[in-house]
């Protein structure tokens, strides 16, 4: 059982000065084994903060990140699961399920984690699982017209089963939702 924090689009310090306090209270060391960051952390201090939550931090470069050495995409495996990570500004149209599905096929990922839209999304499409954790700080985005709520995702990976906990800050309260994804071997297998 591995707990993986999926977080991204913090945009600290350019659009938001910090994570919401209620999120900071939840994100304590010792619980989370791994952090996958979808990019746009922006400054080094925020990245260092993430590393205090869990030592194992995987991060891809977003269009506002200051670190040219970070990769644009990454694939992380957890047992039978291949998790592809991409910031998502490369995907056109932004956040489009079909486009993401093409990327997921290209990366041969069972789960594709992207950001960029600042809107939480978790869909199962063509047997693959697409998760967008949204913006952890609720930073402004031009793509999203509606009110942006801060959110992040915690994935509990047990074998081929992924239980996704979605943490959203709604009216000053943390709301938690749970989505379960089970990798279906039949659909991913090509004979």
């Amino acid at each position: 059982m591995v707990l993986v924090l999926v977080i991204g689009d913090l945009h600290v310090p350019y659009r938001v000065h910090d994570l919401p306090l209620k999120f900071k209270k939840l994100l304590v060391p010792g619980k989370i084994q791994q952090i996958i960051c979808t990019g746009n952390v922006c400054d080094k201090e925020t990245f260092d903060y993430l590393r205090t939550i869990a030592a194992d931090v995987h991060v891809v470069r977003g269009d506002y990140d200051e670190f040219p050495s970070w990769p644009l995409s990454k694939i992380i495996t957890h047992g039978p699961l291949r998790i592809g990570v991409l910031h998502g500004h490369q995907v056109i149209p932004v956040g489009d399920a079909e486009s993401l599905s093409i990327i997921a096929r290209q990366m041969d990922a069972d789960i594709l984690l992207t950001g960029h839209t600042h809107r939480f999304e978790a869909i199962e499409y063509e047997g693959k699982f697409f998760v967008n954790p949204g913006s952890a700080t609720g930073a402004y985005s031009g793509f999203c017209t509606e009110d942006i709520k801060p959110s992040f995702v915690l994935m509990d990976i047990q074998g081929s089963v992924v239980v996704t906990y979605v943490y959203r800050l709604v009216d000053g309260d943390v709301k938690v939702d749970k989505i379960e994804y089970r990798k279906n071997y039949d659909t991913s297998k090509v004979l």
């Binding site: 619980k31 509990d156 906990y165 943490y167 938690v176």
Partner: protein, 868 residues
């Protein structure tokens, strides 16, 4: 790990359960005295010892096993859970705001999960390091099993939780259970009930379950070793305002913690062992360690917590655990095993400085006979005294020293040492009588071959040139034939044989004085002067047996009665045995004993050395043993026919003067006795010096022959009729009666020098110092016989003149094992015991001399291999 096939398991199973005398007690006894666990199924034994399986009734096992295994499965389900598991009845479980990994709510199951994860991490660290040299424990699945078991145990015992060391207790158990598991247990319902129960109890599907049950049972008592007094430990001394600096405060805390550490149960236990037990049994070692300021918890905690698991390799640990579990599942024996370990390296410790002692205690030197530790510990538990410690020390000294190295043990400690061996000796007997007897034979052989003077103290220098000459040549063959582990038995038996020789010598002296009526003969036996007796015996042992005959004849020439000749024959044989025992004669010569049998060729032999003294010859076709008896009886008849014909048979007059014979014997008596058995066994041992002899056969013959001899001799009639009837089952009573008669005569006719007090006084002193022990030790049958005899006789009469030293008797009492003491306690009250011991030793003397008259010729000369 190779798992056993069903057939192998079945064989091992039968070793345990095919024992007709099977009981929990006997199984436990075999656990620490034998190797039932190594031969049989150790996991089954442990299950029984630790009371996981309640009884030996295998029918009930199925139920217990199912129950315990289900119990573990339930526990597993209860404790090893995922917080995401559906708990429908729990309202919190469905409330995601509470039940999520990051929730800070106390009802959050994830909080528990994170705690468990921490605990598992700690356990895993240790589990991964379990027995790093053992490939078995490297496999991930095994480590997971260890981890789960420990984790569940910790969850159940939150007060102790996990402490380092528990995994080292668990790992051997898992190893044992897994090694003896049967992987293919399908379809056992179809087979017969025994196979089914075997397969069920050893099912590989339930290794983890059974291991957990055993571990829990073990930890019931071992848990105390891991308890930690947190409350005391965390108590901070109050910081007084304005008192002192932080440095001082830190020092205060440290002191408080040191104080608290002393209150930890295991440290208290260590201190108790050190301050109380070790101080009692070995003040010298205690003072040494005290002076070096070596705290007992430095090594003791590890010893106790791991049950010595780190001190020895795993196979030795298993043997040690067998004994400890078998003796006492509550592990009370651990304290005394610690003591036994300390005493084992006592000499080295006393020679070492601080660093040396510490390294020796922390890294215990390897020993190869770990199985003796438990019997030693039991002995120490039962004899928690300086004497008990001394006995173990001396036993270790004998055990560790090679036969070549001389032992310088002061003479006054001799009896202690021999006596201290007894419990250990019993262990060997019960372990496997055949093995023991083989060892005894080998030892005896060794004694015969290499009798030179390393044990010769007490002014005894019987080391003749003759024996020394042979010492070297035989040394070679000893090394070829003698298993190394027998060395301690050899050492022991050497000493005992020597002492036996002394006893026989004394008996001979008395006999000669009595029968030949020549107190001023060459072997001038001045009654009461023990030194002189020994001196004379020294002088004579160097003579060859033929010289003896000559000497005997010289002495005898003054008494030309032909009746005495056969007695002389017997005496001659007896002397030969003594010489062999002393080592002054290199090899046992059955022909010398044959002389008394009057076979044709022996007769010639006799006449060659004899100065024309004719031998009253019996019918040559007679059975040997019978003929001797007959012969003797014929003499007796001639000398003095029994006063009362209706009285039971009485052979004593042969050896006594006419005045004594007139005393009617109230009880049937005979020369057959346990001591004659002993002599016979001894002689059989002597024959074993023939290198061609088969040891196993001999060992059989030892066990069988004495009974045969007693059968042929015990019921001889006074009229010289050939003995045919069956012997009475308890020959020791008869010997006792003989004794009794003898003593009664002594009361009635004080002139009779054979039983005069002055003469016995030295015998009482002498034999209680060492001889009785030497007699008692190697041959258990004779021990029981003698003790039973002595107790019996003490019931009948009280002998005022017997007031020999009683300290040795007390020690002897301690040294004997339960069956002996039981036997004795049935017969005597404690107040009578000391006296009866003395009587016993006297009777042993007398019976030796008598028994040899019959036993010596009865030695199975034509049957050297012991095939009866």
């Amino acid at each position: 790990m190779d798992s056993l096939s069903f057939e192998e398991v079945k064989t091992k199973w039968d070793i345990i359960f095919k024992d007709p005398l099977l009981s929990l007690t006997s199984l436990r006894e075999k656990g620490y005295k034998g190797n039932i666990c190594s031969q049989g199924l150790r996991s089954i034994c442990w299950k029984l010892y630790l009371a996981y399986l309640p009884s030996l009734d295998t029918e009930t096992w199925s139920l217990t096993l199912n129950k315990e295994r289900q119990h573990y499965a339930d526990l597993r389900q209860k404790y090893i859970t995922s917080p995401t598991a559906d708990n429908d009845n729990d309202s919190n479980a469905t409330d995601l705001s509470v039940n999520n990994p990051l929730s800070l709510d106390h009802a959050n199951p994830w909080q528990e999960y994170f705690k468990d994860t921490e605990l598992r991490k700690i356990i895993k660290q240790d589990v991964e390091r379990t027995f790093p040299e053992n490939e078995y424990f490297r496999s991930a699945s095994i480590q997971n099993q260890l981890l789960d078991i420990l984790f569940i145990y910790c969850k159940m015992n939150t007060d102790v939780s996990y402490r380092q060391g528990m995994h080292e207790l668990l790992a051997p158990i898992l190893w044992v259970v897994d090694k003896e598991s049967l992987s293919n247990t399908s379809g056992y319902a179809m087979e017969d009930s025994e196979d089914a129960i075997i397969k069920q109890s050893l099912s590989a599907d339930y290794i983890e379950h059974d291991t957990f049950a055993l571990f829990s049972a073990l930890m019931k008592s071992a848990k105390a070793y891991y308890e930690y007094n947190d409350e005391v430990f965390n108590r901070r001394p109050a910081k007084r305002t304005g008192q002192s600096s932080d440095v001082d405060y830190a020092r205060l805390i440290k002191e408080a913690q040191a104080e608290a550490a002393k209150l930890t149960p295991v440290v208290m236990k260590c201190n108790k062992i050190h301050e109380e037990y070790l101080r009692t049994i070995d003040i010298e070692l205690y003072n040494h360690l005290k002076n070096l300021e070596i705290e007992p918890q430095l090594y003791g905690i590890r010893w106790i917590r791991l049950l010595f698991g780190r001190e020895f390799p795993i196979n030795q640990v298993l043997i040690l655990w067998d004994g400890m579990f078998a003796e006492d599942p509550t592990l009370r024996l651990v304290d005394f095993v610690c003591l036994a370990l300390m005493l084992r390296i006592r000499d080295e410790l006393l020679e070492s400085d601080y660093a040396g002692c510490l390294s020796m205690l922390m890294r215990y030197p390897s020993i190869n006979d770990v199985e003796v530790l438990v019997p030693q510990a039991i002995y120490l538990r039962d004899h928690l005294s300086p004497e008990g410690g001394n006995n173990i020390i001396q036993q270790n000294a004998i055990r560790l020293r090679k036969p070549i190295i001389p032992i310088q043990i002061p003479a006054q400690k001799e009896s202690n040492r021999v006596e201290g061996l007894v419990p250990d000796g019993f262990v060997h007997v019960t372990k496997n009588s055949a093995v023991m007897l083989n060892k005894a034979i080998l030892s005896a052989k060794n004694v015969l071959r290499r009798p030179d003077g390393q044990y010769e103290h007490r002014k005894r220098q019987s080391t003749s040139d003759f024996s020394q000459r042979y010492a070297h040549s035989y040394q070679q063959s000893i090394h070829d034939t003698e298993p190394h582990q027998n060395s301690e038995d050899i050492l022991r038996l050497k000493e005992q044989n020597r002492q036996m020789g002394i006893v026989i010598q004394r008996s001979i002296n008395i006999l000669e004085q009595e029968l030949l009526g020549k107190p001023k003969s060459r072997e001038d036996v001045n009654a009461g002067d023990a030194d002189k007796i020994e001196k004379s015996s020294d002088g004579t042992t160097s003579r060859s047996s033929f010289e003896y005959i000559a000497g005997n004849n010289n002495e005898e020439s003054n008494i030309p009665t032909s009746n005495e000749i056969s007695i002389l024959n017997v005496l001659h044989g007896l002397k030969h045995i003594r010489d062999v025992l002393n080592g002054s004669v290199k090899e046992f010569n059955p022909h010398i004993l044959d002389l008394t049998n009057n076979n044709a060729e022996d007769h010639d032999h006799w006449e060659v050395v004899d100065d024309g003294v004719s031998v009253v010859s019996m019918a040559g076709t007679e059975d040997e043993t019978a003929s001797v008896t007959k012969e003797v009886q014929t003499k007796q008849e001639r000398i003095a026919p029994p006063v009362n014909a209706s009285k039971a048979p009485n052979l004593e007059p042969t050896f006594t003067k006419d005045s004594e014979i007139s005393q009617p014997s109230p009880l049937p008596s005979s020369f057959s006795s346990p001591l004659s058995d002993e002599t016979a066994s001894q002689s059989t041992l002597l024959q074993q010096s023939n290198p061609l002899a088969d040891q196993i056969k001999i060992s059989n013959s030892i066990s069988e022959k004495p009974s045969l001899i007693s059968t042929t001799q015990s019921r001889s009639s006074p009229r010289g009729v050939r003995p045919t009837s069956i012997s009475l089952p308890k020959s020791k009573f008869k010997l006792n009666d003989t004794m009794n008669d003898l003593d009664k005569r002594s009361v009635s006719s004080p002139k009779s020098s054979i039983v005069s007090n002055s003469k016995y006084s030295w015998m009482v002193e002498g034999c209680t110092e060492d001889d009785d022990n030497s007699l008692f030790n190697p041959k258990r049958s004779s021990i029981i016989g003698i003790s039973g005899l002595s107790s019996y006789s003490s019931e009948r009469t009280n002998y005022g003149y017997l007031d020999g030293p009683i300290e040795d008797e007390d020690q002897f009492e301690k040294s004997t094992t339960s069956n002996l003491t039981q036997k004795r306690s049935k017969n005597t009250s404690p107040s009578e015991r000391n006296r009866s011991e003395n009587i016993g030793s006297i009777s042993s003397m007398n019976s030796v001399k008598k028994a040899n008259n019959n036993a010596a010729p009865a030695i199975p000369v034509e049957d050297p291999l012991g095939v009866l």
